[in-house]
Amino acid sequence: MDYFLYLTQMCGIFMILAMGLNLINGLCGQFSLGHAGFWAVGAYTGAAFSVFTNLPLPGFIILLIACLLGFITAAIAGLIIGIPCLRLRGDYLAIATLGFGEIIRIIFMNMDSVGGPRGFTDIPKLSNLFWVYFFVVLSIIFCANLIRGGYGRAIISIREDEIAAESMGIQTFKYKTLAFCIGAGMAGLAGVLFAHTTQFISPNNFTFMWSVIILLMIILGGLGSISGAIIGAVILTLLPELLRLLGPTVSEWRMVIYSVLLILLMLAKPTGILGKKEITFSFGKKEKA
């Protein structure tokens, strides 16, 4: 039962990660491959806060403060990395963010105070199903409200046509940086929840491979769709567990299976499971796609 609880929490954590990357990549159109780096920043910041400060406060308050700190530090890391990188386009941006993501990981690898390569142990188990999904719901509301307002539309216009957006008075660099920072902050938040769920983090949790997997989640679900990011996160969190049931050899071929799956999906439906559509629960007006 613990195992299922753990998996359900991991699904939620990846939903937040995927929604964050969806903001950067799916909505703003900026190809980032450094998401795992921001995840790490949040995880280490949150863990360091709850382990080192040891405040005499109830657990959930410590968790909430850790979440806030994790969000802010990751968003600041996003700002520091975004300002030089967001001047680049397409593949160059992807390579630069990939590099920075790895640099972040290697910094933690060399920080002995947080365990270095051995990892950060004995993190209190402050997170639970409730708090994970509390933040999932918060993230959904945040993203949904963002895209239904002028700021979200400005971000989306950059994905549609950056030159036209700039010509319509949208300060594209400002909005790219905004999307990048919020997306990074959300990864940081997911990191705090992750650290306080698994109680152990190490630099190996945050390799470049995870940036790719989170990217796969949003491509699978449909780039630019919040509900797509959620579906993609669930599928790619549960799939390796299903494969594990089929035996160790199948499990070893995980990445190959992902790739085949992705190729098949791209052949059948190039825009992902949902395309840019959203699953909504309102009966009023239907969104046209």
Partner: protein, 259 residues
């Protein structure tokens, strides 16, 4: 009449190529001015310098007597220059309404957190923007198309939407880059009326690049002719029509001999 735009001998060089050579334009309020010239004459490049997409190699651009070269395109738009593109650049996968609302965003009065918490200020302003957008669409005869995707509109309507979108930034100077390109004769006649009507209704200045001679001659009060980047003639449509240099540039030297 107050001066809206002035370019002071702007020059654009790409490596060894001088795409625009010392172009000096003067545009006053309510003017309707054309730039013509053969393909590759440097017309679009001139637009790109005026709108801040290119930094002129030499010379200055003044908008309402304020120097604007080196200012970012978005800020220039906020200061009052709006444009369309030679190859339509709509936000294709977004609705017609969103195309217009995005152009109105730089005047947005609510803050980021108003939009996240959907405050009253946010809702009131969104309603206002939507009403403005819808009335703009009806001016451009596109009422009822608000929630169509831009890419699904017929070609002529896409061109019109691009002009409507530029108008949503509330410009004092509108730049149109070959607005009639790809239109059929009927659409071109409609467009000619529309352009004149926009100028009169909104009291702004329009600078127009066009290949369709009939449109330019009919609608513009003053025409600049570019050839290989150089300004070879400036004048009223009738002056331009009879200018031997212009005839030569358009028809080649044999054209002149044949006349």
């Amino acid at each position: 009449m107050s001066q809206v735009l002035k370019t002071d001998a702007i020059t654009m060089q790409f490596g060894g190529l001088t795409a625009v050579d010392s172009l000096s334009l003067e545009i006053n309020q309510n003017d309707l001015i054309g730039i013509i010239g053969p393909n590759g004459a440097g017309k679009t490049t001139a637009f790109n310098m005026i709108t801040g997409h290119y930094l002129p190699t030499k010379g200055n651009v003044f908008l309402n007597n304020e120097k604007i070269n080196g200012v970012r395109p978005a800020v220039i738009t906020q200061k009052g220059i709006a444009r369309t593109f030679q190859n339509i650049r709509l936000f294709k996968d977004l609705t017609v309404l969103d195309n217009i609302r995005i152009a109105a965003h730089s005047r947005c009065e609510y803050g980021f957190f108003d939009s996240i918490f959907r405050t009253k200020k946010f809702k009131d302003y969104e309603r206002k923007i939507e009403e403005e957008a819808i009335s703009l669409l009806s001016i451009f005869k596109m009422q009822g198309y608000s929630d169509h995707l831009a890419k699904n509109l017929p070609y002529g309507m896409q061109r019109r939407l691009e002009i409507a979108r530029a108008m949503a930034t509330k410009p004092s100077l509108l730049l149109l880059d070959e607005p009639a390109a790809g239109m059929n004769p009927n659409e071109t006649i409609e467009l000619t009326k529309l352009i004149r009507w926009i100028r009169d209704e909104f009291k702004l200045a329009i600078l127009l690049i066009e290949h369709d001679m009939r449109l330019v001659m009919e609608v513009c009060e003053k025409i600049y002719v570019l050839d290989y980047g150089k300004t070879i003639a400036v004048g009223t449509p009738s002056e331009i029509q009879n200018n031997p240099k212009v005839i030569e540039a358009y028809l080649g030297s044999e054209g002149v001999e044949n006349e």
